[in-house]
């Protein structure tokens, strides 16, 4: 207890006030404490001097383009927040998806905020590839005089952290852009830092523009500022830091007891949450760590038996993901030269991190840590996103999730996915899961219910397609639908088999092809079925079908993409380049959509 933040007895409060404050403080996260200190400082500033009213005399309303490159929706959400802040500051702000933008148009912007996430091993998000390619091309337009700043999102668990943002930043500078703030690189716990950076950067921009306006009061194109203190568009009520406690009403391992896999179908009650989602959306799930692993971590840090700390680690800290920064930090706090050296050597650190987690670091170099050192070393526990496998039109006030249990062994230790093992091993019907809505506006059913759809979703990738088909069944949509599903064994791993049979019988699903890789010696995957069905598949594409891909990003999505290109080349008798162009056109038209992870 004494190890956690506490007001001293000497604090200028009554004893009972100190007790209440301490009770609150003890349960806070570093972000909350950081926010609180900022809030109190701001509150002090705002209440001390009455002169600084933003509702000053009319001034020009400055345009601001907030350009985002999103994969999982984080950049998009930040862009929306930035727009809100900018609007309040008096900008005429627009949030623009890179998928809908070209470098030529953006080069004409006066003020540009770029929010870019990095995907996989340093790649731009798929939706941003066209823009990225255009900007990097020799023929890219100049950005002379464009005031810009870049917010980069990434995950330190991957190589080439924030690579996409870094490259945007460097390229915009090379093309003549005027950087108004240093780039910020945010890890998975981006919210607090990103918000601070956005506030700061927009403040800087506002000051710059004010100077420019003083110098040239008649800057063309400027509007009159309409300062608006009213709230912007309602933000989602439930967030990762304030999730909804959804009751688990059903929980079934869909794989047979003979299966090598374990995929949990979980039904959650959204009653009372007000959460309304569309097929294609995801739920963020705030998991709890495996208590046994937390025990191991505490023991390795010489902190076994600290119940308060155990609870904090279980609920709030990432006790699995290992980063190079943590190696270096661990070295610094313990003075362990070997660790400092390892942390300083990128290649060796990467080799060490491969297949290892926090526990391996602590076990490899046993040191006694204080609770503050341990919590200081750990990153906040990130939520996990799961595509919703149901439609509210079929199951009102419910959301169904499909969660594949992740278990593997590396370096002699059994590992488990944090969230999936939480659901697979510890959650029970009647208990709750902490969730919040994560909209995925890029992965939606076509607006026209008559549009044919092709759904390619092996493994847990089938989740959003159950939502799609449920939805089309509930609304009686006339469009044809074709599902490609794959897994290991037909008999033991055919997820939702009886439901697909029912949907086929009712006509909600028009066609089904399946690929089970382990039923025969030669591996068969969904892309093999795509190729076998190439004549009909191409005909569907020509008929305007929207093609959806959901599931594994590394192998499956790449193989499916390559196969789709082959199908087009074969059926249209065109070369590979033209086939790729065909897919690019589909993607730009919103007819080739991927939700891969």
């Amino acid at each position: 207890m004494a190890s956690l933040p506490m007001l001293p007895d000497t604090a200028p409060f009554a004893a009972e006030q100190i007790a209440v404050l301490n009770k609150v403080m003890v349960a806070t996260t570093p972000e909350q404490r950081s926010w609180l200190s900022g809030f109190l400082a701001g509150y002090q500033a705002a209440t001390a001097a009455p002169q600084a009213s933003p509702a000053a005399p009319p001034a020009t309303r400055q345009p601001l383009s907030i350009l985002f490159a999103t994969e999982s929706g984080n950049s998009e959400a930040l862009a929306a927040k930035a727009r809100l802040v900018a609007t309040r500051l008096g900008f005429a702000a627009r949030a623009i998806d890179m998928a809908d933008a070209t470098p030529e148009v953006m080069a004409k912007a006066s003020n540009l905020l770029v929010i870019a996430s990095t995907w996989g091993e340093g790649d731009p998000p798929q939706r941003a590839i066209d823009f990225y390619t255009g900007l990097m091309a020799d023929a890219a337009p100049r950005f002379d005089g464009v005031r810009y700043a870049v917010l980069a999102l990434g995950d330190r668990a991957y190589a080439n952290f924030c690579e996409t943002g870094r490259r945007f930043d460097e390229r915009l500078a090379a093309l003549g852009g005027a950087r108004i703030a240093d780039r910020i690189e945010c890890d998975v716990d981006y919210e607090t830092r990103a918000k601070a950076w956005i506030d700061g950067t927009l403040g800087t921009l506002q000051a710059l523009l004010a100077e420019a306006a003083d110098a040239d009061p008649a800057e063309p194109g400027a509007d009159v500022i309409h300062v608006d203190f009213a709230r912007g568009p309602a933000e989602q009520a439930w967030t990762r830091s304030r999730p909804f406690e959804a009751e688990i009403t059903e929980r079934i391992n869909l794989n047979s007891s003979r299966s090598t896999a374990e995929t949990w179908h979980v039904e959650l009650s959204l009653a009372g949450s007000g959460i309304t989602y569309e097929p294609g959306d995801a739920l963020g799930f705030v998991p709890t760590n495996d208590p046994a692993l937390v025990d191991e971590v505490l023991t390795a840090a010489g902190l076994a038996g600290d119940a308060t700390l155990h609870a904090a680690l279980a609920d709030r800290f990432d006790v699995t993901t290992l980063t190079r920064l943590q190696i270096a930090e661990f070295g610094r706090m313990t003075g362990d030269a070997a660790l400092i050296e390892l942390g300083a050597d990128a290649a060796r650190a990467a080799a060490f991190i491969e297949g290892r987690q926090v526990i391996d670091l602590l076990a490899a170099a046993p040191h006694r840590l204080t609770p503050e050192q341990l919590t200081g070393l750990l990153r906040p526990l990130p939520p996990r996103l799961y595509s919703i496998a149901s439609s509210l039109r079929a199951v009102p006030e419910e959301a169904h999730l499909l969660i594949g249990a992740v278990r593997f062994e590396t370096h002699g230790r059994a590992r488990k996915g944090v969230a999936s093992a939480d659901v697979a091993e510890r959650r029970r019907v009647g208990e709750t899961m902490k969730v919040y809505l994560k909209p995925n506006s890029h992965f939606r059913l076509p607006a026209d219910p008559a549009t044919p759809i092709v759904m390619i979703g092996p493994g847990t990738g089938i989740a959003p397609f159950r939502a799609f088909v449920q939805d089309r069944d509930a609304t009686g949509a006339a469009g044809r639908s074709w599902l490609f599903f794959g897994n290991r064994q037909y008999t033991h791993d055919f997820l939702y088999q009886l439901e697909w049979q029912d949907f086929l019988a009712r006509g909600a699903l028009s066609r089904l092809d399946v690929a089970f890789s382990r039923d025969q010696r030669e591996k068969v995957y969904v892309q093999h079925r795509l190729w076998e069905q190439r004549r009909d598949l191409y005909a569907w594409m020509e008929d305007g079908a929207v093609v959806y891909v959901c599931g594994d990003a590394n192998a499956m999505a790449k193989d499916v993409h390559a196969t789709l290109a082959r199908v087009i080349a074969d059926q249209a008798s065109v070369d590979a380049e033209a086939a790729q162009a065909y897919l690019d056109r589909m993607r730009r038209a919103g007819r080739y959509l991927r939700d891969v992870y």
Binding site: S256, H265, T491, Y496, L498, E499, W500, L512, Q520
Partner: protein, 570 residues
């Protein structure tokens, strides 16, 4: 006769099947289900294929949003039961790649694969075909695999009966091209092609039909258990002809005393060149006189009960255009196999390997599957399947014996097996057989272990007693011809039958009803004690229990349910 009553549903399915096609080919392409349509599952039997499901998994399937764990059993047609080593290797491959990794030898001298999922069915059948084997008519309302005594040590007669088994099988094979269209050919021929089944007609037989050929004194085929039997009469080392038996069959239904197992009647004698004609006309007689309304009364045995043996023989002879000669004397000794090495009359040796319940798999140190694969790799002779679910490594030249012996030892296949276990047989039953009411193959081995302890204590370790178990009353392991028969009634519950003849010539009789599995050993122990103490020299257990009045002798199928002890009415 049948036309007064409503035809059974199967008759309509056959009639409308376009000679066994139905919609099987279309059903194989439906991705959402691992099953075929119900009607098609009746038709696939004619192609040697049974749809089954894993009953161990039934309880969980619906909850997991999956249909039953369907798979298929494919039964081969191997008349006479001989295979080349290359064919064995091919079967091993198919088991590994397309089925459940095991090979099941059956009581009717053939091989079954279990656990073939629908998407693997065509590749499996095609691979069987590439090995110059097939599954045509291995099940269904047709003549099935023709079995023959496994006596390769008598080269001339064995060669003759295997050749005869093949010829009879071929003569009675359906002529429909459906099998090749569906399973082998890439192109499916659309309906409309004019076809005919000269022997069977459009609706084939009313029920299954089985033929066995035996060479006395062996009765390993249980010749009296089949619809039609041929008992070779060997004179001066040559087969002079065959006694013809008809009307045998095992299946019955619990609680329906007008269904019963039946031993075939000896009708007379025919020359070797008359065998095919006799077989064809017995089949056509059954085709025309068999009951097509009630499948439980459709076997030839009921037709003969109805027509009388003399009436049936008269109809047969009318169709043949000649009379059968009077039956000739013969002597049978037993229905078991002879294990280990046996010298043949041609200088070659033959090793009969005990295969518990016919299951070829690697279990513990006894690695049958791997061992037979290794032996097939070096063996220059043949493999002969026996009707007791065993396998003979046949035609081994003297200088090749050490190599075979070494492999038998290496794979743990040379160990001693007790006499009781060697004479025990079980059907497949759970989890794949849809008919099973109780365990059989998975339970019998442990029951034998318990009984062996009793036998050893009583000094009966070397005494052979036939013991057969089935999970239902349909009789795949021919339990009604065992000195101790156990027939499943429900989970963990069996009817206990005693008193069949060791040579397979007499059915047994119900001794105790609804015995729980835990009580079986206790029920048999006093009888075995009495047998050890009071038997006469050479007296078989089946004969002993009759002499001592524990059960009455069953003199014919229609007396199977009669002469029971008080309180045992079926």
């Amino acid at each position: 006769m049948a036309d007064e009553k409503k035809l059974s549903r199967n008759e309509t399915i056959k009639e409308e099947s376009r000679f066994l096609r139905g919609s099987i080919a279309e059903g194989l392409h439906r991705a959402e289900t691992g099953a075929l349509s119900e009607d098609d599952t009746q038709l696939t039997k004619f192609h040697g294929i049974y749809q089954q499901d894993d009953r161990d998994l039934r309880a969980e399937r619906g909850r997991k949003k999956m249909e039953k764990a369907f798979s298929f059993m494919a039964r081969l047609r191997i008349p006479g039961g001989t295979l080349t080593p290359a064919q064995w290797l091919a079967l091993d491959d198919i088991a590994q790649e397309r089925a459940n990794g095991t090979i099941r030898l059956t009581t009717r001298q053939t091989v079954q694969f279990h656990g073939i999922i629908k998407t693997n069915l065509r590749p499996a059948i095609a691979a069987i075909n590439r090995a110059m084997l097939d599954t045509v008519a291995a099940c269904g309302d047709v003549n099935r695999n023709v079995i023959a005594t496994s006596n390769p040590y008598e080269r001339a007669t064995h060669g003759a009966v295997v050749a005869l088994a093949r010829a009879v099988s071929l003569a009675l094979l359906p002529k429909s091209r459906a099998y090749h269209e569906i399973w082998i050919g890439d192109e499916l021929v659309a309906g409309g092609e004019e076809e005919d089944e000269p022997i069977y007609g459009r609706t084939y037989l009313p029920r299954k039909f089985k033929i066995a050929i035996t060479v006395p004194p062996h009765n390993d085929v249980d010749v009296f258990a089949h619809d039609l039997g041929f008992i070779a009469i060997v004179e001066d080392g040559r087969i002079a002809g065959y006694n013809v038996t008809a009307g045998g069959g095992m299946g019955m239904t619990h609680g329906e005393p007008d269904t019963f197992p039946r031993t075939g009647d000896v009708l007379g004698f025919c020359a070797p060149d008359q065998v095919i004609a006799v077989a064809e006309q017995v089949v056509t007689t059954q085709r025309d006189f068999g009951d097509r309304a009630d499948r439980k009364h459709a076997r030839l045995k009921y037709t003969i009960e109805r027509m009388g043996v003399d009436g049936f023989r008269a109809e047969l002879e009318r169709r043949l255009g000649f009379a059968l000669a009077p039956a000739r004397p013969f002597h049978l000794e037993g229905n078991g196999d002879r294990y280990g090495w046996r010298e043949g009359d041609d200088g070659l040796a033959h090793y009969t390997l005990f295969v518990e319940n016919g299951r070829i798999a690697d279990t513990g140190t006894r690695r049958l599957l791997s061992g037979l694969r290794a032996i097939a790799g070096v063996h220059a002779g043949t493999f002969v399947l026996t009707c007791n679910q065993n396998l003979t490594i046949a035609q081994v030249a003297p200088d090749r014996r050490p190599a075979i012996d070494a492999l038998l030892a290496e794979y743990g296949l040379d160990g001693d097996v007790t006499a009781l276990r060697r004479h025990a047989m079980a059907c497949v039953a759970l989890p794949t057989c849809g008919l099973a009411l109780a365990e059989s193959e998975r339970y019998l081995p442990s029951l034998v272990t318990e009984l062996d302890a009793v036998m050893a204590r009583l000094g009966l370790a070397e005494d052979a007693i036939t013991l057969r178990m089935t999970g239902c009353p349909n009789g795949c392991a021919r339990p009604y011809l065992a000195e101790i028969g156990l027939v499943g009634r429900g989970p963990g519950t069996y009817n206990l039958y005693l008193g069949a003849a060791f040579d397979g010539s007499r059915l047994n009789k119900l001794y105790m009803k609804d015995v729980s599995d835990a009580a079986i050993v206790a029920a048999l122990t006093p009888l075995l004690e009495e047998y050890a103490r009071d038997r006469e020299s050479g007296e078989r257990f089946g004969d002993f229990v009759i002499r001592r009045g524990h059960v009455q002798a069953t003199v014919g199928g229609n007396r199977f349910h009669a002469d029971l002890a008080p309180g045992l009415a079926a």
